[in-house]
């Protein structure tokens, strides 16, 4: 008899991801989001969560999903990262999965270094695979900064241009 892990499953694109239920504060529908100027592309803005202002990251953009469709099924997972609440937009989230510990494999070596070190394991649910992630790790300061650098060096988009401009004005 092994213990079951309680996992909140959510979908991004065609994959099912999972986070430990203890990491998730709540799941809400996507309200009006107030965009904040100069924030990174994957940061949607801020929302009012019952009187608290929390920032919202589009996890689909963060995971590099190409096509982002806004549907009524979209949800925001509210998680706590470094004592601050952050909202994550996902395609859909509804189920709580119970996965026995024995059915969880360690992540393949390929995930361990580089960008994907937030994958903590892969759970098997019948013929479905659930990718278990540590959300706090996705949103850690250093991680985000690295992502920004990555964006700037890879694609000289508006961010890089802006940086260049401010460089002139200084």
């Amino acid at each position: 008899m092994s213990k079951d892990l309680q996992i909140v499953g959510f979908r991004i694109g065609r994959e099912t991801f999972g986070v430990r239920i203890s990491h998730v504060h709540e799941i809400v529908r996507v309200p009006d989001i107030t965009a904040v100027p100069e924030s990174p592309e994957y940061v949607e803005g801020v929302i009012n969560l019952r009187g608290k202002i929390i920032s919202v990251v589009d996890l689909r953009k963060r995971f590099g999903e190409k096509t982002i469709t806004r549907t009524k099924k979209n949800r925001i997972l509210v998680v706590e990262v470094e004592t601050k609440m952050v909202g994550l937009i996902v395609d859909s989230a509804s189920e709580v999965l119970k996965i026995p510990e024995s059915a969880i494999d360690l992540p393949p070596n390929v995930f361990e270094d580089g960008e994907l070190n937030y994958v903590t394991g892969v759970g098997k649910m019948g013929d479905r695979l659930v990718i278990l992630v540590d959300l706090t790790r996705i949103l850690q300061k250093g991680e985000l900064r690295r992502l920004e650098d990555f964006n700037e060096s890879q694609a000289p988009g508006p961010t890089a241009q802006q940086a260049g401009l401010s460089g002139i004005s200084v």
Binding site: V36, S55, L139, L144
Partner: protein
Amino acid sequence: MSFFSDERSSELRELFFESATELLQSLNENGLELEKRPGDEEIIRQVRRTVHTLKGDSAACGYQELSDLAHQLEDLLTPEIASSSNGTLADVVLIAADTFSSMLSAYRGNLQPPSGEELRLQILALTSKPSKATPYKLQARFAWNEYEQMVIQDAAGKGETVYNIAFGIDQNCPMRGAAMQLIRNVLQDCGRLLAIEPDHITLAANLDVVEAAIATGYDAQWIRKKCKIPAVISEVLVERLAGPAESSDDVLDIVQHVTAELHTENEPAIRAEEVITVTPETSSNGHSSQAAAAPSAESAGSSFSNVPETVLRVDADRIDAVLNLVGELIIGKSMLHQSINEFDKRFPKDALKGRFADAMAFQARIINDLQKSVMKIRMVPVEQLFRRFPRVVRDVAKSCNKEVALVMNGQDTDLDKSILDMLAEPLAHLVRNAVDHGIESPAERISAGKPAQGTVKLDSYHHGNQIVVEVSDDGRGIDKNKLINKAIECNVITAADVPNMSENQVLELVFHPGLSTAAQVTNISGRGVGMDVVRTVLNRLKGTISIKTAMGKGATFYLKVPLTLAIIKALLFRVTDRIYAVPLASVMEITRATEHQVHVVDHQDIVQMRDEVLTLIHLNRLINQHTKAKRFFVVVIQLADRKYGLVVDQLIGEEELVIKALDDHLVSTDLVSGASILGDGTVVLILNIPNVIGRFGRTLKMVGATA
């Protein structure tokens, strides 16, 4: 050994630190007073009371080093040491304040406190002085109590010769108790011992003077010779008493009573010593000793008695928690307001409407009062900030050999505690600057026809919804040419810019990092970082700073800060489909304009308003839109000496906003100073005007220049 549980004692320590900071402040103030009036006994007594309280409290918290030092200092605080020290006592007190302060911060950080060796040496230097100076002036009071007087009188009545003898005990004599015994033996050899003070060996531990009365057949000469015990007695005073002792006035009795009372205290040795040290004064000036003795008894009784009970010490976090709740309540109020408005529209004829409105108005009033009361709790008088400056001015003036007087006004102006705390550093910098750079040396001043003593003024007052703190000096003023030259030298501006710069723009250069007009970098100022810090802090506080100066007449800095940080009156407007807010205090006026009124000068959109030219800031750039509307509103903002116009699509109105920080690393931007939630739940961003103008006013220019 601790009598309290860990939690209790840490709470106790917190309290101690709190009160100790205050004690040190008053020590600083008293030290400065003492410097002005070195002999003032009232001040010395105040200092002693302060040091005594500090000693007791620190000992209770187990901070032995501090307590010991305070104890040593306490010994020093007597009128005669003050008068014999030629004013150096004030220095010692100030050094002590510094030493204690660094010890306290060490204790606070659980570190080994500094030894305070310098202070110890200073104290020693002063304590040893009087012992060198006074041996030849051994003074005794011979204050015998009633019984002793009776005995003396009785002996005199019998025709016996009565002598009062005072022994000055050698400073280097290690065993005072033994000395006491020797004295007794000698006295008994000389004649019949009528009275001796102190009358018990255990009280003699730190004793300097022993007094006695004997009835004897020997003459004074013989007694004097007999009483000189080498290495124990340094001085003997023999006084022939023809009749009853004269020194029995009431004052002395009081001193005696105090002595007697103090003997019953838990620290008999120290107390005895204290009273003894006032002894010499007694014979010359009886009244002062009465005054001196009384407070020492009082301070021994209750060191906490001077804290008024009506003042509560509350952790700032608790007040902030209440303030946050009030903020939520205000949001709730506007939510309710909105729903009722909707209800009004839907059921215009419902009788419930009136009752809703009444309840709403009632609730609004209460919430308003509640908010004001909570804000008031956070308000503290500016005096708390100002009171540290006399010391700063004195130290800086002393180190650069200037004579500077500090004049302070408006100390009772109230300001939010957090703003006050943040203002401390910039203000200290400005004051140091005023003394170091502003005020000239006395010789220079006299040759300029000014009094040798310079004046630095601190003032604070309300100005609308803001508080103004003024730092001014009557020194040489800011040399604009020097500033320009330095700025060109540092490549901040080019020589071509100079003719186009307004006076204020030139003065603004002062705040540029790395620019200092000081010829020399000293430990006080001159590295050119400080003014940059001043402006940064002011920006963070949503405040402004401006300068007025006249060559040879001095300079004035005006620091304008909002009354509070938590709730602001804001103007709300819409740009495209988004709502933004700006602090109402920064809005000068609002006007309309059309496309045709916009001119382009130097690649910058401008619009003329009456006889002024406004630089337009297109706020839709915030979301990377560049469309231009045909008709729009212009919100006129004044920043430094220039006016700007924010182009907005639609005005919404003014509202009280509860500011919520947007310090999340995900959305950190300096264009936005915070966010707030409106009644309908919408999140609105509050723009940080100086940064928005800086960014969009300038990038526009750059884009134009590169295109």
